[in-house]
């Protein structure tokens, strides 16, 4: 019993972090129809920003979080202007963006490797190695903080999307771009801002990742399939779906890891991605994919 509760707790804590990692990806896909394969590499960039803030000036990763988010959001705007805006009119936009984001991921990885070498890093505030005990069950403090911070950020994002004027414009553009434009929404601006927010969320996730996992520039390859499985299970573009999928798959992965060994735990995500695409490609909340 204790073993089950313990596994569940670890799964939930990890789910919170994955939820934040996936929600930016989901937002960008929803509004822009860009499958951003560079998202995980930008999470790693956020992790480096946080790592150096802590290492050089001793700034707590949770304080670095908004800073990393803003820096990455700015990088997002530049990236959009340089890489994606020109292609927006192209008929092969979706196919193009897969290649462009793939190339972006390689460039980000190369740049990070060039600047910071391929050494494994981890940000190590005191709480990262601490744990809170309830009898024999424990929660790693770092994962607890990361999970809570994730939920706060996702909650704020949800409130923003649901209740602010601009958030409504983002949702409207996701659901029906032409209709939003006809009602006076500047959809191009919504696109840029959503991209900035999405990459900003990658930066924020990077701050949390930096003390929950150890990381190095090429680590993003491991995550791309994990994040894809979350976004696909959630229904491409549905943030709520992505969050629920993160908890579901992380909990399943935790149990698989506990009972079959940790190598199998990451297999959970790959297998899930495969099965979802086969059985229910529209995911939990997505529309049926167009057959055309």
């Amino acid at each position: 019993m204790e073993q089950i509760v313990q596994t569940l707790i670890l799964g939930i804590a990890l789910g919170g972090v994955f939820a934040l990692m996936g929600s930016g990806l989901s937002l960008v896909f929803g509004v822009m129809r860009i499958v951003n394969l560079a998202h995980p590499s930008l999470i790693i960039a956020g992790a480096y920003v946080t790592y150096w803030g802590f290492k050089l000036w001793g700034i707590d990763p949770l304080v670095m979080l908004p800073i990393a988010a803003i820096i990455l959001a700015a990088i997002g705007v530049i990236l959009y202007k340089l890489v994606f805006e020109k292609e927006a009119k192209s008929a092969k936009y979706s196919e193009m963006t897969v290649l462009l984001t793939f190339a972006t991921a390689m460039i980000v990885e190369g740049a990070l490797g060039g600047m910071f070498t391929n050494t494994q890093r981890v940000t190590s505030p005191d709480y990262a190695t601490d744990a809170i005990f309830f009898g024999n069950v424990f929660i790693p403090t770092g994962q607890l903080y990361a999970g809570l911070a994730s939920l706060v950020i996702i909650g704020a994002l949800a409130l923003f999307l649901k209740h602010s004027r601009f958030g409504n414009a983002i949702r409207a553009t996701t659901q029906n771009r032409d209709a939003a434009e006809l009602l006076g929404v500047n959809v191009n601006f919504v696109g840029i801002m959503s991209f900035a927010i999405g990459i900003g969320l990658a930066g924020a996730a990077g701050s949390l990742v930096s003390f929950v996992f150890s990381f190095f520039p090429a680590k993003h390859w491991e995550w791309i399939a994990v994040l894809m499985s979350l976004v696909v299970l959630g229904g491409m573009g549905s943030i709520l779906g992505t969050v629920l999928a993160s908890f579901m798959l992380s909990i399943v992965a935790a149990f698989v890891g506990a009972y079959f060994g940790s190598t199998w735990s990451s297999m959970t995500f790959f297998l899930a991605l495969f099965l979802i695409l086969l059985v229910r490609p529209q995911g939990l909340f997505g529309e049926k994919p167009e057959l055309a």
Binding site: A91, R165, N168, A169, R171, A172, Q175, N176, D178, A179, A180, E181, L182, L183, G184, V185, N186
Partner: protein, 242 residues
């Protein structure tokens, strides 16, 4: 005759594709109901999209109150008071009815009266109040069309362009939609209607415009257009193509 909107020898098309409209013209008088008829693929929807700024005007011009709309974006044309309800109704399926109405006021510079304006609309269309927290995509076709039409009222538009509001609706519901349209017209809103069913469209309009192969064949008072022998001919041809 004072003209509110004037389309002259308009050429337009999609992206880099061929010209779909080539020589379309149209005159619109304030406060009247105008109906564009023509067979499938004639370019009726394309004409409305060109007027509202979704498509680029390649040649010719669209003038609103004597001022050219050439080169303006849809949001800029909307702010001049020209609303477009496309064939697909342009709702946000996963937003509530109330949120859809609120999006209708997105272009308003002054938001202070928005909630009250929405309340008024809900009063006039009780079904929208009843369904206010329901996702728009879960409503029936008639309810969705009602929402799409009612939503235009929020910005107090001068011209509302309706693309086949009857599409896919039962005759009784179609009748209701025409009722809403006439009510809008009676409040001084100028209507530009596109209708597949020429007879029904013209009977409910003041002015008729016949479009075929991207050109205006002729226009005139609705009863005259309705009586024109060319209409019979065109429509027999049109039905075959459909």
């Amino acid at each position: 005759m004072s003209q509110l909107l004037e389309v002259t020898s308009l050429t337009a098309g999609y992206d880099d594709g061929p010209a779909i409209l080539d020589g379309a013209h149209l005159t619109i008088e304030p406060g009247k109901v105008h109906c564009i008829i023509g067979p499938n693929g004639a370019g009726k929807s394309t004409l409305l999209k060109a007027i509202c700024g979704m498509l680029k005007i390649r040649q010719g011009d669209v003038k609103f109150k004597g001022e050219s709309l050439k080169g303006l974006r849809p949001d800029q044309i909307l702010r001049k008071g020209i609303c477009f309800v496309p064939q697909e109704r342009a709702l946000f399926p996963k937003m509530t009815v109330r949120e859809n109405l609120r999006m209708g006021g997105y272009s308003l510079a002054d938001k202070s009266g928005l909630e009250r304006a929405i309340d008024e609309i809900e009063e006039r269309f009780p079904i929208l109040r009843e369904r206010r927290d329901q996702h728009a995509g879960t409503m029936s076709g008639g309810q969705q069309q009602t929402l799409a039409m009612a939503r235009t009222l929020i910005i107090r538009p001068e011209i509302v362009m309706l693309d086949e509001p009857s599409l896919g609706l039962a005759p009784k519901i179609v009748h209701e939609m025409f009722g809403i349209m006439k009510m809008m017209a009676s409040e001084g809103i100028t209507i530009l209607l596109v209708e597949q069913n020429a007879l029904m469209g013209l009977k409910n309009s003041d002015w008729g415009v016949v479009l075929d192969l991207g050109k205006t064949l002729f226009e005139g008072p609705a009863p005259e257009v309705l009586a024109d022998p060319r209409i019979q001919e065109l429509y027999l041809g049109g039905k075959k193509a459909a």
